[in-house]
């Protein structure tokens, strides 16, 4: 018997019992739709993640941390600077240069973060500043610029970029270009002693003063021009400043008595003593500016590798300098594993619905065989083999699964379109450049339909076996 004949006869039999077939197929539709939507969500999220990783060039990066025992890329990237004590090697310019010389390394970006800035203000609004970062503007760390530009290598001070959430709060939502060129205020912490801070010599307080006549700690207000608005895919509630300005902000300006000041004091004292009468001299202090960034080292470094395949070996080579280093492949793999596990779990939930649908297919086919027992007898009488009867019913069951899969995928497609509209709105509100991330790739469509067809076929095996084993004489006598 030709395969097309099997299919046509099966389709005709399905059509004969329309209501029963429709109800059976409906159960499969529910299962197929659930599996489709869940896998589409996970597939879309995975694809979005991989696109972000590739766009950021993360797979070609090695994150370097002062902490030797850090092995995770994200931890290494965000490890703080500050005082380096045990199991810690300062990330200095010297280390950065050594890393640049490692084979397959094409460049290094130095990253400095600090908590010196407390708030950002514009137009009478003052917002708490979550994060201030600075890194080399050499293209290794890239941002998605929504308006204006990113920090350039030629920028030294007085300019910032901000994430879009700040621009939104300042009233520029939907018009990020409007804040470009505007001047914002950056308010420092009380203990700030970097560039722009008012530092007075000790025992000379021009107010406000504390009880020891020392100047009371007051925040400093810096100003900056906004040159760019960045999306929030890398960070949120953050500003970026030029690395050189970060260095200046981290400077510690303090009046100290240097050896020269001591010598001057002694000279003044000696001169004074030569003159009869009380000797009142003024102490000498000099303003000493300490480069704290050089002293403490950078928060982290990012080494760019020529090829993602070399990232792991470069990380190993960098560790020999006594620092912590990690490439992103392990993190990416871990994230993908999480996606896969989530997909498996969600798919299994949809699979439960399909299992229930399979029971429905078995029931429908058993009913069909009971109703068509005499018909089976006639088929056998006119020359159908047992295997022919078995195949007929198996194909009929498979078609129930197939049609359930097709309709389920179509329904799932419709729901993913709705989901995309909602997700697009959400992403747009966070200024993330992505659109219609929940998709139905062809492999997913074919897989779902294939699975439902297979489930139909498997569910049909028992009833088909029963039909094939019917004695034709008994079947012809069946009432």
């Amino acid at each position: 018997m030709r395969f097309t004949d099997y299919v046509l006869i099966a389709l005709r039999n399905i059509w004969r019992a329309k209501l029963r077939s429709a109800l059976t197929i409906f159960a499969v539709v529910i299962g197929a739709m659930s599996v489709t939507i869940m896998l589409a969500l996970v597939t879309g999220a995975k694809s979005f993640f991989l696109n972000q990783v590739e766009a950021n060039g993360t797979l070609q990066q090695v994150a370097v941390s002062p902490q030797q025992d850090i092995t995770n890329f994200n931890d290494a990237q965000h490890s703080g600077g500050g005082n380096c004590s045990a199991n810690c090697v300062k990330l200095t310019d010297d280390i950065a240069n050594k890393i640049k010389a490692v084979p397959h390394v094409v460049g290094v970006a130095r990253i400095a973060g600090q908590g010196m800035l407390a708030a950002i203000g514009y137009g009478g609004q003052l917002l708490t500043l979550n994060q201030t970062t600075a890194y080399d503007a050499n293209g290794i760390i890239s941002n998605n610029v929504l308006a204006g530009r990113d920090i350039a290598a030629s920028d030294t001070s007085g300019v910032i970029t901000m994430t879009s959430d700040y621009a939104d709060k300042f009233g520029f939502k939907g018009n990020y270009q409007g804040i470009i060129g505007k001047t914002v205020k950056l308010q420092t912490q009380d203990f700030y002693r970097g560039v722009g801070a008012t530092v007075q010599p000790p025992q000379q307080c021009n107010g406000p003063c504390n009880s020891n006549n020392q100047p009371d700690n007051q925040p400093t207000t810096l100003t900056a021009t906004v040159v760019g608005v960045i999306d929030t895919s890398n960070d949120s509630k953050a500003i970026r400043v030029p690395l050189e300005w970060m260095r200046q902000m981290q400077e510690n300006q303090m009046y100290q008595m240097t050896p020269a000041d001591q010598a001057a004091d002694q000279a003044d004292q000696a001169k004074c003593r030569k003159v009869p009468g009380p000797c009142n001299t003024t102490q000498h202090f000099s303003l000493v500016v300490t480069d704290m960034l050089a002293q403490n080292g950078y928060s982290s470094l990012i080494a760019k590798v020529d090829n993602s395949k070399n990232a792991a070996s470069v990380a190993t080579a960098i560790k020999k300098f006594g620092v912590g280093a990690a490439d992103a492949s392990a993190s990416v793999k871990q994230q993908l594993t999480i996606f896969n596990i989530v997909g498996l779990v969600l798919g299994s939930i949809g699979g439960i619905a399909l299992a229930v649908a399979a029971v429905g297919v078995v029931n429908t086919m058993v009913m069909a065989i009971l109703e068509r027992t005499r018909e089976i007898g006639v088929m056998r009488a006119v020359g159908a083999k047992r295997s022919t009867v078995r195949s007929l019913f198996t194909i009929e069951a498979s078609l129930l699964g197939f049609w359930g899969g097709v309709v389920g995928v179509l329904a799932g497609f419709g729901l993913t379109r709705i989901a995309n509209i909602l997700v697009n709105k959400q992403l747009a509100s966070q200024s993330v450049k992505a659109h219609n991330i929940i998709g139905l790739p062809l492999w997913l469509i074919l897989t779902v339909i294939g699975i439902t067809t297979l489930i139909g076929m498997l569910a049909g095996l028992y009833p088909a076996g029963r039909a094939a084993k019917l004695d034709p004489v008994e079947a012809l006598r069946y009432e």
Binding site: R2, I9, R12, R374, E375, R380, V382, G383, K385, T388
Partner: protein, 229 residues
């Protein structure tokens, strides 16, 4: 009746069934030969083994012992696939209750055996149309069989039996569900087919119908008890 070789030969055929703990003999050491082109009527009371005999000849059932030679081949030894092929090519069945697919058209019903003969659709359709024309139903091709009268349905059943150009037609009480007029029409049709060379084996309890056959055999309690004709 023309002289012809035996096309059917049953040698010492026995068919037993186990019912509960007892063994029941539906056929008991039956010997029978049927010549090509012969019209044989099998009569007997209900439960005598008529249908069992017809089923064994038709390959729907296998004997417990003995040989069943059809055109020289012992069909009792064939496995399912070959036995099914034998039925498809050599046997046409006509049943008392027609056994048609009611929601299918007359044409589709007649094409059914040809589907299992792996013929293409064009060939099947042409052959089915010819068979329906031969039984006088050329104007009922697209009618669903549940829209036809009893006589017309039995004609469709005969057309279906003819579709594979069988050498043997087995008719089990072919007029049992018809009135006398329609029954006569069917008998005339079957006689015509027999005259065209098809070996016809008819099971009936009606003596007047059996009288139209070349030969009558009577079966009682699984044994052939008499031959007439």
């Amino acid at each position: 009746m023309p002289e012809a070789a035996s096309v059917i030969a049953l040698n010492d055929v026995t068919r037993t069934y186990k019912l509960g703990g007892e063994v029941f003999s539906a056929l008991d050491h039956v010997n029978l030969s049927v010549e090509a082109g012969e019209f044989l009527a099998i009569i007997g009371p209900s439960g005598s083994g008529k249908s069992t005999l017809a089923n064994i000849i038709g390959g729907l059932d296998k004997p417990t012992s003995g040989t069943v030679l059809i055109e020289g081949n012992d069909i009792a030894k064939l496995h399912d696939a070959r036995l099914s092929a034998y039925r498809n090519r050599h046997i046409g069945f006509v049943f008392q209750s027609f056994n048609l697919q009611g929601n299918n058209t007359a044409l589709e019903n007649v094409m059914l055996p040809l589907v299992f003969a792996k013929q293409n659709r064009k060939t099947r359709k042409a052959r089915a149309i010819a068979c329906l024309e031969a039984v006088g139903l050329s104007d009922r091709l697209q009618h669903k069989t549940n829209q036809l009268s009893g006589g017309q349905r039995q004609r469709v059943a005969i057309a279906r039996a003819l579709a594979v150009q069988p050498s043997i037609i087995i008719a089990d009480e072919p007029t049992g569900n018809l009135d006398s007029a329609r029954g006569q029409e069917i008998m005339q049709l079957l006689s015509k087919l027999n005259k065209d060379g098809i070996t016809l084996i008819m099971i009936t309890h009606d003596q007047s119908l059996a009288a139209q056959a070349h030969r009558i055999i009577e079966i009682r309690d699984g044994k052939l008890t008499g031959r007439k004709g």
